[in-house]
């Protein structure tokens, strides 16, 4: 493909939570900034911009990614999923989100978007994930409020419900107004 020049904005098109979106980006624009400030999907948060805290974690083409370590131009043509796409409907929560609420697995909620993306991906790939696996994946996130215990409980609870009823955590339906 042609080289994109440093100071020119180009249009980046991709699918965000099932809907096509587009926006202008310089090569250096981070995906986290692009999602939040160009596309307007502010559910993904930024806590460090060097890949450690995990708040910015999203899914790109089905795999986890730190959006602060990804350039907006890199997602051209990709499928991006963020926390806004997790709930099955406008007034509903996913099994995992419900479990977070039940177990008080969030306080300020700032780290939560990234953690949900990681755990949702884990439970999608391994519905019967055990505590060790949950802790391993959660290990890629920092939370200052909860001390993590309630998050592990929530994930275990969700895993149990999902393995009993695999349909319960279905992929998000079409939703309105997120983007």
């Amino acid at each position: 493909m042609p080289r994109l020049s440093a100071d020119r904005r180009t249009e980046v098109r991709f699918t965000l939570n099932g809907r096509p979106v587009a926006g202008l980006a310089e090569p250096r624009l981070l995906l986290s900034d692009f999602l939040r400030h160009v596309v307007g999907a502010t559910g993904t948060h930024v806590g460090c911009e060097h890949g450690v805290c995990g708040a910015c974690t999203v899914r790109i083409d089905g795999g986890l990614a730190r959006s602060c370590l990804t350039l907006a131009v890199q997602v051209e043509g990709c499928t991006v999923e963020t926390v806004e796409g997790l709930a099955p409907g406008p007034a509903r929560l996913s099994v995992l989100q419900e479990a977070f609420r039940r177990h008080h697995a969030l306080q300020c909620g700032f780290c939560t978007a990234g953690i949900l993306m990681s755990l949702d991906t884990l439970l999608r790939d391994e519905p019967a994930a055990d505590k060790a696996r949950i802790e391993e994946v959660l290990g890629g996130h920092l939370c200052r409020c909860t001390g993590y215990g309630p998050i592990v409980s929530a994930a275990l609870d969700a895993a149990e419900r999902l393995s009993e009823d695999p349909g319960a955590g279905d992929a998000p339906e079409e939703r309105d107004g997120d983007v």
């Binding site: 310089e26 460090c48 060097h50 806004e84 997790l86 306080q107 300020c108 909620g109 200052r144 001390g147």
Partner: protein, 1013 residues
Amino acid sequence: MSAAEPAPSQTSAKPGHLGRSLPRFEDAALLTGRGRFLDDLPVGPATLQAAILRSPHAHARIVKLDVSAARALPGVAAVLTSAEVQALSAPLVVGVKAPMTCWPIATDRVRYVGEPVAVVVAADRYLAEDALEAIAIDYAPLPAVVDPERALAAEAPVLHEGLGGNLASDRSFRYGDPEAAFETAAHRIGITVRYPRNAVTPIETYGMVCEWDPGEDGYEVTANFQGPFSIHAVIARSLKVPGNRLRLKTPRDSGGSFGVKQGMFPVIVLMALAARLAGRPVKWIEDRLEHLTASVSATNRVVTLAAAVEADGKITALDWDQLEDVGAHLRAPEPATLYRMHGNLTGAYDIRNLAVRNRVVVTNKTPTGLNRGFGGPQVYFALERLVQKIAVTLGLDPVAVIRRNLIPAGAFPYRTASGGLYDSGDYQKALETALRDGGHAALVEKRDRVRAAGGLYGIGFATVVEPSVSNMGYVSTVMTAAERAKAGPKNGAQATATVALDPVGGVSVHVASVPQGQGHRTVLAQTVADSLGLEPAQIRVVAELDTARDAWSIASGNYASRFAAAVAGTAHLAAEQLKAKLARLAAAQLNVPAEALVFEGGRVCAADTPDNAIPFARLAATAHWAPGTIPEAAGQALRETVYWTPPQLTAPTPDDQVNSSLCHGFILDICGVAVERASGRVVIDRYVTMHDCGRVLHPGMVEGQIVGGFANAVGAALYEEYAYGPDGAFLAGSFADYLVPTVAEVPRPEILHVETPSPFTPLGAKGVGEGNCMSTPVAIANAVADALGVEDVILPLTPARVRALLDEPEPPAPAGTAPAAPPKRAGGRALAGTGSAGFAAPPQRIWDTLLDPATLEAIVPGCHKVEKLSETRFLAEVTLGVGPVKGRYSVEVALSDLVEPASVTLTASASGALGTGAGQGHVRLAATPEGGTRLDYDYEADVGGKVAAVGGRLLDGAARLVIGQFFAALGRQAGGGTKGGGATDGGATDGAGAAGPWTGLLGRLLRLLGIGS
């Protein structure tokens, strides 16, 4: 429920929603990405973005600051420097009457790494950061002092000349008769501890949008500021506007604060001024590097504490000497960290005699401020380490020493020696319950078992009184009684809440508690729902604060664990007040006395004839639609705002007694740790934390506060430190350097409760948010001290420190192995090394090459030019890098002690956008029998700025790489190349990679080699 609990009201006898773990109303939005955090709020199209140029030096004069190139860049709207700040604002008020001036930006000199020097305002943050790189600034480094004890020395560099030294405050206090107690006691047992710097850095950083309205000469600020709103007055004064022209708003959601988001106020002043200068709204989102480096930190403190102790472990007196390090400026509300615990210096113990000396010192580090635990970790680290030492010294069980000294259960409310008024408690019951239910006996058995098998295992305790709801007057204890009398009394802790009805019966609650994620809205809905007989979901709670519209006071905000005790209680009072009016209204309609009415299930009815009822919504509507029917005495029944302040929070007395807090919870922690001998890793095997936080309003949230605080404290005990180099370089600038624990590092504590409700608060609740930050660090330290049988434990207990405490002999280096690099000396330079290189060329040739600018220009990798300033001073422009890391530096080198062609001393300093370096090297040349040269060198250097903050892990290696490369090039240039594998440094063979050296290192390189001549 306990009998001591205040009856909420005669008409709400049924168990209500309070006390139950309702799902939080906050969560649905937060879980679906619909939070409203500062950086999520819509801003107008005129809004600009700011970035701050920060000092890479701990202490330096600003010699030159030229922002013209930055101003001229496309997209840049304004550059704010100290000139504009001084013209448009006044210095920040300083907490004590000390002759020092505190601006939010460096004026003529910088005093800590990260201190703001200029602010760029541009169309976006990327452009603003581009412009930072275009600012030309020269510093003349000054000696820095980072250690509080050294800061007191006569020869220490002085930060604020007005002080005449670095001591900002020195006060002594005496309660009871400590001298006599020490004289008559069987033992005097003392300990000195050094509590390090850390902070519960929230995951969301500071953020704000500031705007100036020239028509009204007023500022409007939206910030994720947490309070206390006493700071509002500080900001307004600095901006030179009356308080009613500083409108301060907070967003609905905040990504955690833990005290830290108090510390942003100097930046609010800067950004408000930047907005004024630019004539447009300015938004600033702090980045993580800025946050770790320069937001705010807890104080580090040196404490020497001694106890007068009887043979049975009874403590009869304490003698405190506290040296508090507040960093480079004494910023409001400091020295509050030091005085917050003043009423609690005897902890949970009945000790009547007390001597205290409190000194406050300034050093070249980030100024301090609020942080979870606020003063508690520092105090209890000393006190509880001492209690353990008393047990060890006297051969007693630590539990016996604790038991012997606890305040008796019947003594509450209990007045401490220094004036604290402990509201309620049954410490004996809490202790015995914790020992029993926490499995203490089994833990002791386990310790014995592990030890018998040769393992390292220890048990630690911490007994803590957790204060909450601060007295706004406590900081004035730092003043003498005469000064206080002159300044006027300060006391109380105003909380406010408003409960309002809409025309169809909807209830809304407004508070100024500025939640940072704790779930205030849910608890307030529960509280008010209980009063009005409604469901919590029917109550709408608004917690974003707007100082232009909402009821607030200087005590408003989210700190000192005041929510449950003060704010929820005040909301309860407001709801009850509204209810009383509605009851009169209903009484008139239902024809029963108001006292006989019950609010229940969305209706108001007569207690004995439930059919005689009126729906709550109807009643509320009446208040709106038919105010004429409201009985005279009721007045309006639409909206009630209550201000509440507890009478117990009186001003400090003339003899310096102060009840620094309203509520006093109790915590008893038991911790079992295993220490891995080979690695020094501390593994928390078991942790029991017993809490008495009065009445529990929401068990789920109380547990959340406890485990969250516990996790923070595990960080403070084992992982986290805002580390500084001896020269003041900041070393923990990233989350790879400042180690916040992850799930793998945080065990689950076992939580136990006893409840003794506070008689001083409307709901009987006490604060609970900070206790484990006070108790857990020292409980872990005590356990490690017990495991290792050592006294001097320093936090964080890193594997390297613990391994050193084990003090085991090391297998010696086999013959022929180069000796180990010398260990770092305390106070020495951050980098040091020695090495040698062999060359085929003779010494004179090497000498000439070394001292010739032209050849150096050719051989120093990335060298653009070498300029000769004098015979012995040179200036070089160099681009250096390791791997992808590259930066441009200017390097000044001075040569001294020249003995041609045998030896030279090089003194160098380097600076560039990525960092700074300064140091000294000695080079010695000797002829070898084969006609070549042997070159020996040693160097010491400090590296500062960004590379030190985020690259510390690699700096040593980078220095060696640079040196190795240089000598390889030197050998080539001088002819004949290097011999025997090139340079060696400290015994390791240096790499001779293709890439150039890394960033700040440059300094070292040149100093070593001597760019020059």
